[in-house]
Symmetry: D2
Subunit: 158 residues, 4 copies
C-alpha cells in the first residue's frame, strides 16, 4: 500500500505539516512518498492507493501551483475513482480562508471520484495550522496520517 503526500510550501509551515502526516502514515505500516508538488508527475498519481495534498491558504483556495497539478490530472480522469484522498493547509489567521482551502482540495478529489473522511474531534475537514505548526497541530497531523492510512487499508482490503 502506497500513499502520496504532496505539498506546496514557501515558508516551510505546510512542509512541516506534510512531514508529520507522513510520520502518521508510516506508523500504520504504509509506504509513504513525500514530494513537493513540482516533483510530482501526473502519471505517478496512478501508483498510489491514497493521495494527500497540502498547500498554504492563498485567497481562500489552494495555491495555483497545486491547482495546476490537479487541472493537469484530467489526463487520468476516472482512474483515481475509489482511491482515498486527504487535504491540509497552513493559514495566516483564524477565519482566513483555511477551511475553504481544504474544501477546495477535497472537492477536486471528490470530482475524481475519490473517498474522503472527516474528523469528529479535531479539525473537521482536515489539518489546519494558523501560522507555524505547534505541538497540537503536529499531533493532529500525525493522527490524520494514521487515519488516512487506516481508511486506505480498509478500502483496499489489507
Amino acid at each position: 500500500m502506497k500513499i502520496l503526500i504532496s505539498y506546496y510550501s514557501r515558508t516551510g509551515n505546510t512542509k512541516k505539516m506534510a512531514e508529520a502526516i507522513a510520520r502518521g502514515v508510516r506508523d500504520e505500516g504504509a509506504t509513504c512518498d513525500l514530494k513537493e508538488i513540482t516533483d510530482v508527475e501526473i502519471d505517478q498519481l496512478l501508483e498510489y492507493e491514497a493521495l494527500i495534498f497540502g498547500a498554504p491558504t492563498y485567497y481562500g483556495s489552494m495555491a495555483a501551483e497545486m491547482k495546476k497539478l490537479l487541472d493537469d490530472s484530467v489526463k487520468h480522469h476516472g482512474k483515481l475513482a475509489g482511491r482515498v484522498g486527504g487535504a491540509f493547509t497552513s493559514s495566516g489567521m483564524i477565519g482566513g480562508g483555511g477551511e475553504t482551502t481544504i474544501l477546495s482540495i477535497l472537492e477536486a478529489l471528490m470530482i475524481h471520484g475519490m473517498i474522503v473522511i472527516g474528523d469528529a474531534t479535531i479539525q473537521h475537514y482536515g489539518p489546519l495550522a494558523i501560522g507555524e505548526p505547534d505541538a497540537k497541530v503536529h499531533k493532529m497531523c500525525i493522527e490524520y496520517g494514521q487515519k488516512i492510512a487506516r481508511l486506505t487499508k480498509k478500502v483496499f482490503g489489507n
Copy 2:
C-alpha cells in the same frame, strides 16, 4: 449491513430521488430503511453503517427540518465516526444552490467523522435534480445507491 436514507420532501421530487437511491442500495444486497426526516429518531442513527440524507435546495443549504436533525445528532457526537455518508438534493434551477446544499450535508457528515465519496462521471458531489427527476437523474440515483452500498461493504468488511 443496514443503510438509512432519510429525506425531506414537499413536492415529492426529493422523495422520488430517495426511492431510486434505495433501489440502488438494495441492488447490492444491503438492507435499506427509507424514512422521512420527521420519522427518524436520533438514537436510531446509530443502527446504520451508512446514512444518506436528501433535502430540497432552500437558500443554498439543507432545509431547516433536516438541519434540526443533524443539530440534534450532537447527542451522539463521535459515535458515527468511520461510517459512510451521502447526500442528494432537488433544486429549482441550474446554479440555484444545489451544489452548496449537497456540500452543506456532506460537511455535517464530515464533522461527524464520516466517510464520503465523489463521482468522476456523474454529478460529482452527489445526485442533484433540477425540477422533477427525469430518467437520467433516476439512473444516477440508482447508481449512487449502489456506489454507497459497495463502499460501505468495503469499509465494514463484508
Copy 3:
C-alpha cells in the same frame, strides 16, 4: 437607515458578538435593532436596508433555528434584492466549521439578491470567534458593524 442584527445564541458568545457589531453600526449613526432570531417576524425583514445574521457553528452551517427563519423568508423572495447583508459566527475550535457557517449565511443572502462584503485585513468572510470573544474579536466585531453601516450608506445614498 435601519440595520437589523439578528442572532441565535445558547452560550452567550454569539450574543456578545452581536452586541459589539451593533455598537459599530451605531458608531456610524445608523439605527440598529438587535434581536434574537425567535423575536424576528418575517414581515419585519422588509423594514431594514441591511440585515446581519449570526449563529453558532453547528455541524458546519448555521443552526436550524436560523435556517428556519431564512427558509420562511421565501415569503418575500425578491424583495430583499439590493439590500446589504452580513454574517458572523462563534465556533468551538479552529477549523471547526466556522468559515463554512458564515458562508452558509452569506450564500442564503446572495440567493435573496443581497450585497455582501469581505475584509482584507481581519476575518475575511465575517467575524469568527473561537470560544468566548476576546478583545481582538470584540474590536473586529465593532469594525464589521462600522463597515456594513458605511456600505449601506453608500448603496442607499445617504
Copy 4:
C-alpha cells in the same frame, strides 16, 4: 467608471459569456475592458472600480491560470477593498462543480475586501453555463453585467 472583465477560455464558452457580460456593462454607460487572463498585468487591477472574473469549471474551482493571477494580486493586497467583484463560469454538466467554481472566485474577491452581489431570480451566485451558452444564458450574462455596473455606480457615487 471602469470595469474589467477578465476570462480564461479554452473552448470559447467562457469567452462568449464574458462578451455578453461586457455588453451589459456598456448598456449602463460604463467603460468595460475585456481581457484574457494572460493579458492582465497585476498593476492594472488597480485601475478598475469593478472586476469580474470568469473561468471554466475545472475540478470544482477556478482554473490554475486564473488562480495564479489572483495569487499574484497579493502584491496589492488591501488596495482593492471596497471595489465591486463578480464571477462566472462555464461547466460541463449540471452538478459538475460550477457553483463551487463561482464561489472560489467570489471568496478570493471577498478576501481582497471586495463587494459582491447575488441574484434572486437567475443563477444566484453568478452566471453559470452548462456547455455552450444558449439564449437564456446570454440574456442572464447581459443582465449580470448591467447589475454589476449599477451596483458599482451606487458604491462609487455616480
